[in-house]
């Protein structure tokens, strides 16, 4: 549905996007991840035709955005980083304007009402956009993208500035939209991607560092898992026993909260499940295990490791060259 082939874009001397290539299949929700300044927004702006790439091709449903922009743009609904709203208009005036702008053919009243109900802005329809809260403005931005029921939806950080309840609502909304649309969701919040996306593309400095199915990404990054165990028992001995278990890389005291139990941070070796040996060891010593939870890798962790791997590869290549 969306095809990006070797896209490059520089701003003066600064390389913003440096040879990106990826595809998004029909009906897929793609998470587009990267730290600030990685080139996410630039890439999305190129896909939507707001910017032109220095080289490379972006195709929407087989139509090149550069050679046939009007046809390609008909299939795109785009929510940019800053929602493109006119503050002096009311919500409904604005949506009617977008409806006309996109040359939408669906029945006007019904279509706009449906969209307003989906993103829950029907009750603010007659208010001026400038008087809306950030969360509502964001939703009007999403509503705008949905007008005309385009095949492709592109959201640039849609949950930024929203409160937790709204974030969950928007995520559910995107999930629901994903059933009928192809979606690119740009973000730097990992749980968001995990909750919503089928596949993740991670970019850094304008280059792809990972392009994996969501569930594979964390494993692909690093097989080791971190656990936090709450154990009742003498600190020194527990630590000694933990470190003696095969498959445990490190074990450290994380903190003491209750009077008798202590939390330990345990890191396993790659792809080893240490939960069972941990349990048996503790039960044999009569130290109750009163809590055990996995520590999810944060985006920062994943990211640092991906970038770390990249660097290793680069230095590896260089040393190989040096060897030759």
């Amino acid at each position: 549905m969306i095809e990006i082939c070797d896209i490059r874009k520089s701003y003066g001397d600064k390389r913003a996007v440096d040879g990106l290539t990826f595809k998004v299949e029909e009906g897929e929700i793609l998470g587009f991840l990267g730290p600030n300044g990685a080139g996410k927004s630039t890439t999305l702006n190129i896909i939507t035709g707001y910017l032109s790439a220095d080289s490379g091709v972006a195709k929407i449903d087989g139509t090149d955005i550069l050679t046939d922009p009007i046809k390609a743009k008909k299939d795109i609904g785009f929510l940019p980083e800053i929602p493109p709203l006119y503050p002096e208009m009311t919500v409904l005036e604005y949506l009617n304007f977008v409806y006309d702008l996109k040359g939408c053919k669906l029945p006007r009243k019904q279509h706009l009402k449906e969209i307003c109900e989906v993103v829950k802005i029907w009750d603010v329809g007659k208010r001026l956009i400038k008087n809306l809260s950030k969360g509502y403005k964001q939703r009007v931005g999403i509503a705008q993208a949905l007008i005309g029921n385009p095949k492709v939806l592109i959201f640039d950080e849609p949950t930024i500035g929203l409160d937790p309840r709204q974030i969950i609502e928007i995520r559910n909304l995107i999930k629901m939209l994903g059933k009928e649309h192809t979606i690119i969701l740009s973000t730097h919040i990992l749980p968001e991607v995990q909750a919503v996306c089928d596949r993740i593309v991670v970019i850094n400095k304008g280059r792809i560092v990972a392009n994996e199915k969501t569930e594979d990404l964390i494993n692909a990054v690093d097989g080791s898992r971190k656990l936090v165990a709450k154990i009742v028992g003498p600190e020194e001995e527990v630590l000694k026993a933990l470190r003696a278990i095969g498959g445990i890389k490190t074990a450290d005291v994380l903190g003491k909260r209750d009077t008798d139990s202590i939390s330990y941070l345990i890191e396993s070796q790659d792809r080893v499940d240490i939960r069972k040996p941990l349990f048996y060891t503790l039960s044999s010593k009569n130290w109750p295990l009163i809590g055990l939870e996995g520590v999810e890798l944060s985006l920062e962790d994943i990211f640092m490791r991906l970038v770390g791997k990249e660097k290793e590869k680069e230095t590896g290549k260089k040393s190989k060259r040096g060897g030759n």
Binding site: Y11, N45, T48, G49, Y50, L51, S52, P69, I70, K71, K73, K74, I76, F78, P80, I82, P84, L85, Y86, P87, E88, M89, E93, F97, V98, D100, L101, K102, G103, Q144
Partner: protein, 235 residues
């Protein structure tokens, strides 16, 4: 294009800009009109009124055009325009025609001033009609200059001030052109002088070349605006 035209037109009156423009236009031109005709109890000095109008246009028209592209760019609303299935020329023309409509309607309302003259004397109707046509075309050209300068910056004030400057320069330039020895430069300067082209209208001549001049001036700046927008995508 129609959607953009309608939105810009509405936006003029959802913000104070439209009212300020209409009000200032009518007040200032009304003052100039009274001074040149009613106060002097004569209809022969109406030509002077049109010279006043040129100066008023040079200053007031940038009020209409200053926000057209600079505001969109600053608030990033240009993203919805440029990612929608509309051509760049369609966007520019939509905005231009909206400004032209506000200008034109105010201009027509203002032209009722001339009706007054017919109550008190026998003014030369052809002369007035020709002058009105000429000055309207001049306004249309100034609008295009304004829209072009608005596309160059995201600061409305800069757009307005530079447009006033360019308009004023095009009015003043004719004073210089006669003093220049080199005939090549003189011809080039004359080409930019909007007053020189206005002269036929004051002589009650329907000069096609003058009409074409003003229209092509507008067309050139509209074209340049589309190029600026197009170029920005590649920046």
């Amino acid at each position: 294009m129609l959607a953009i035209y309608m939105r810009e037109l509405k936006s003029y009156f959802l913000t104070p800009i439209g009212y300020v423009f209409c009000g200032m236009f009518l007040v200032v031109s009304g003052l100039a009109f009274s001074e040149c005709t009613l106060m002097r109890q004569s209809t022969t000095s109406i030509g002077e009124y049109f010279v006043w109008m040129m100066m008023i246009f040079a200053i007031l028209i940038p009020i209409l055009t200053m926000k057209l592209f600079s505001e969109d760019r600053k608030s990033r609303t240009d993203q919805i325009l440029l990612t929608s299935p509309v051509s760049i020329l369609g966007i520019v023309m939509g905005k231009y025609l909206a400004a032209l409509t506000v200008f034109g309607v105010t201009f027509i309302v203002n032209s009722f001033n001339f009706v007054l003259l017919f109550f008190y004397g026998t003014p030369n109707a052809t002369s007035i009609l020709m002058n009105v046509l000429g000055i309207f075309l001049l306004g249309a050209a100034f609008l295009a200059i304004g829209i072009f300068l608005s596309s160059l910056t995201e600061n409305q004030l800069i757009a307005a001030v530079s447009a006033i400057g360019v308009n004023a320069a095009m009015l003043i330039i004719s004073l210089f052109s006669s003093g220049i020895e080199n005939s090549f430069f003189r011809t080039v300067l004359k080409w930019f002088s909007v007053i020189d082209r206005f002269t036929p209208f004051t002589y009650q001549m329907l000069d096609v070349s003058a009409i074409v001049y003003y229209l092509s001036l507008a067309a050139v700046f509209i074209f340049l605006t589309t190029r600026v927008i197009e170029k920005r995508r590649w920046a």
